[in-house]
């Protein structure tokens, strides 16, 4: 009888050990991910899950030191062949990647998750949490988002305090030069404008294409330009030619880093808001002081 009991104990112990071993094995096998947009790459790094990332698209490696990852093209131009050769478990794609190429990847039996373009901070947060799920970092993501939300709320309170007595500022946020393209409603950058207690002069539109006459007639008090290098310089010069615009008169034309403003991640959203706040209100504070 005691020997039978011992045998049972042993078998229970072995079973538990096997279950534990398998569980550990499963969790230690990380999902191999290919990111097809710099913002997803950045979020994976934020989640400290870069060991899961095996490849990304060009420009995705900026701010990251690991150059051992494979580059599989750019956001809009990927190499299906290269991706297939890496045999990833998951591919994160945006709506900017060619649909034909996405279909091809799926046909090869690869798992592709396509994120829609986020239209608000809530969308960005959902996207972040989804990526965190893929890399088993949900708790970390929740905590991180909590911190970011707190920072945004604190910034919002500061903005509210400063702008209590004023009417909303009219803002024009340029993100393209030829054609002239601006932030329009239903975009996360429009939410940044709202949080700044600003008023986007581009309203009731589904596209951001606009013309100079409209901008001049709407007379923005602040102009943000999120363009690369020379294009930003040229855009600023072009606006400076129109001395009637309030933003030109008060020298409130600001060039902001396109990487920060055009790459939707929770961290970037907060930093973009902070940067814009600093630009707008530091001038006013200085003036008051």
């Amino acid at each position: 009888m005691p020997s039978q009991l011992n045998m049972n104990k042993n078998s229970i112990f072995i079973s538990i050990s096997i279950i534990l071993f398998v569980t550990i094995k499963i969790y230690s096998q990380s999902t191999k991910i290919v990111s097809l947009a710099p913002s997803y790459t950045k979020q994976i790094y934020t989640l400290k899950a870069d060991s899961n990332l095996i490849a990304y698209t060009k420009y995705g490696q900026k701010n990251h030191t690991n150059s051992e990852k494979t580059v599989v093209g750019s956001v809009v131009n990927i190499s299906v062949e290269k991706i297939r050769s890496l045999n990833p478990d998951l591919i994160l794609s945006s709506t900017l990647t060619r649909k034909k190429q996405i279909r091809r990847l799926k046909k090869l039996g690869l798992k592709v998750h396509t994120f829609q373009q986020p239209q608000s901070f809530a969308d960005i947060s959902d996207q972040f949490l989804r990526i965190a799920e893929f890399v088993n970092k949900s708790q970390f993501a929740q905590n991180y988002l909590h911190k970011i939300k707190n920072k945004i709320n604190s910034l919002e309170r500061k903005i509210d305090t400063r702008t209590k007595t004023e009417k909303n500022k009219k803002i024009f946020f340029q993100i393209g030069r030829q054609p002239l393209y601006a932030v329009h409603p239903n975009t996360y950058l429009n939410e940044v404008i709202n949080l700044l207690n600003g008023q986007n002069i581009i309203q009731n539109r589904s596209s951001g294409i606009c013309n100079r006459e409209t901008v001049i007639s709407k007379d923005p008090e602040i102009i943000f330009i999120a363009l690369n290098g020379k294009a930003a310089e040229l855009a600023q010069q072009e606006w400076n030619d129109f001395g009637s615009i309030a933003a030109v008169k008060s020298h409130q034309i600001y060039q902001v880093a396109p990487n920060l403003f055009n790459s939707p991640t929770p961290g970037n959203f907060y930093l973009a808001l902070k940067k814009a706040t600093k630009h707008i209100y530091s001038l006013k504070f200085n003036h008051k002081n």
């Binding site: 093209g73 190499s79 060619r98 190429q101 054609p179």
Partner: protein
């Protein structure tokens, strides 16, 4: 044996060998380095690696087949149109077909019908747009039961301008992701994942070759001039219409599947004319084979030169085709239609 027949056979065989060699190159070269021996083993199913099978059989081979079908079809369309228009600048896209397809694709994208109807809606809408323009140009080009060649050409050019304005208008009111879809399509690409569509294109392309070959002898008579051809008993009106419709439908189908790939239909027929003379029977077959080989080669270069990024295939067709054509034209010092 007839000397011309022997010449046709010999040159066609040479063109076929060139095509096969370039096809092998297209299958062997890509963003991923795979040894030639592995490529051949995979092709003949001697090596069973899922990875190599995916890359060689499922990715590269369909591109090569589509390149052959589209390149061949565009070349014979160009040859046929240059034949009836007797104008060296005419190519399949001059007569507005690509414009019609572009408007079809742009409208579909703007109205977001692709997500509702399905992915085949893109080639279908492109083809419908092309067919609409073909019929419109055809209708406008006929007066007093005469198919007026010069008018057709001018109407086609005007429709191209109108279409390009319409596409720009649609792009101006589209969302950025839709603009991408339209732009990518306009750039042209052999990246097609639907094997059935590729095989249908191949079938239509070969069917077009057969019709073009049947028409080629009559096109030889047409090259003497309309009056001469009439006096030799040729039903000129019927030939003009048949040639126009064959070339247009072939082009419309190619554009619908692979987007706008220019230069192939312009350069290849001239290239073959400079090398082999003016006999359309020989030109139809060799242009078809060399056109296919040229597009496969261009696509191979487009996807490898700056890999993993890919160039639009039209960039390569324009560069290689244009430069080698000018070189050959100056070297041989010939007058193409003279």
């Amino acid at each position: 044996m007839n000397q011309k027949f022997v010449k046709t056979i010999i040159y066609s065989l040479i063109a076929l060998i060139v095509l096969l060699l370039i096809s092998l190159l297209g299958i062997s070269v890509g963003a991923e380095n795979i040894p030639l021996s592995t490529v051949i083993k995979t092709l003949f199913n001697i090596e069973n690696s899922q990875l190599y099978e995916d890359i060689i059989i499922n990715l590269r081979l369909p591109r090569v087949i589509l390149g052959f079908a589209v390149g061949g079809a565009l070349s014979i369309s160009g040859l046929l149109l240059q034949g009836i228009f007797r104008n060296p600048l005419v190519e399949p896209f001059t007569i507005g077909i690509s414009g019609g397809a572009s408007v079809g694709i742009s409208l579909l994208t703007l109205l977001n019908l692709e997500n509702i109807i399905g992915f085949l809606s893109l080639p279908v809408s492109g083809f419908l747009g092309a067919i609409l323009i073909i019929l419109l140009v055809y209708k406008l080009g006929i007066k007093n039961n005469t198919f007026r060649i010069t008018n057709i050409l001018l109407i086609g050019v005007m429709i191209s301008f109108i279409s390009s304005s319409l596409v720009m208008f649609i792009m101006a009111i589209s969302k950025s992701k839709d603009i991408n879809t339209i732009l990518f399509w306009l750039m042209g690409s052999l990246e097609e994942s639907n094997l059935k569509l590729i095989l249908i294109t191949l079938f239509i392309s070969i069917f077009g070759l057969i019709i073009a070959f049947v028409l080629s002898r009559k096109l030889n008579l047409f090259s003497l001039g309309e009056e001469e051809a009439k006096s030799l008993g040729l039903n000129v009106e019927r030939i003009k219409r048949l040639v126009y419709l064959t070339a247009s439908v072939l082009t419309g189908f190619c554009v619908a599947v692979s987007g706008v790939i220019s230069f192939v239909g312009l350069i290849i027929p001239h290239f073959m004319r400079i090398l082999l003379g003016k006999d359309n029977r020989l030109l139809v077959i060799t242009s078809y084979l060399i056109g296919g080989a040229f597009l496969i080669l261009s696509d191979t270069l487009a996807r490898t030169v700056i890999a993993p990024l890919q160039l639009p295939v039209g960039v390569i067709t324009g560069l290689i085709g244009g430069i080698s054509f000018i070189y050959l034209l100056n070297r041989k010092n010939v007058n193409i239609f003279g």
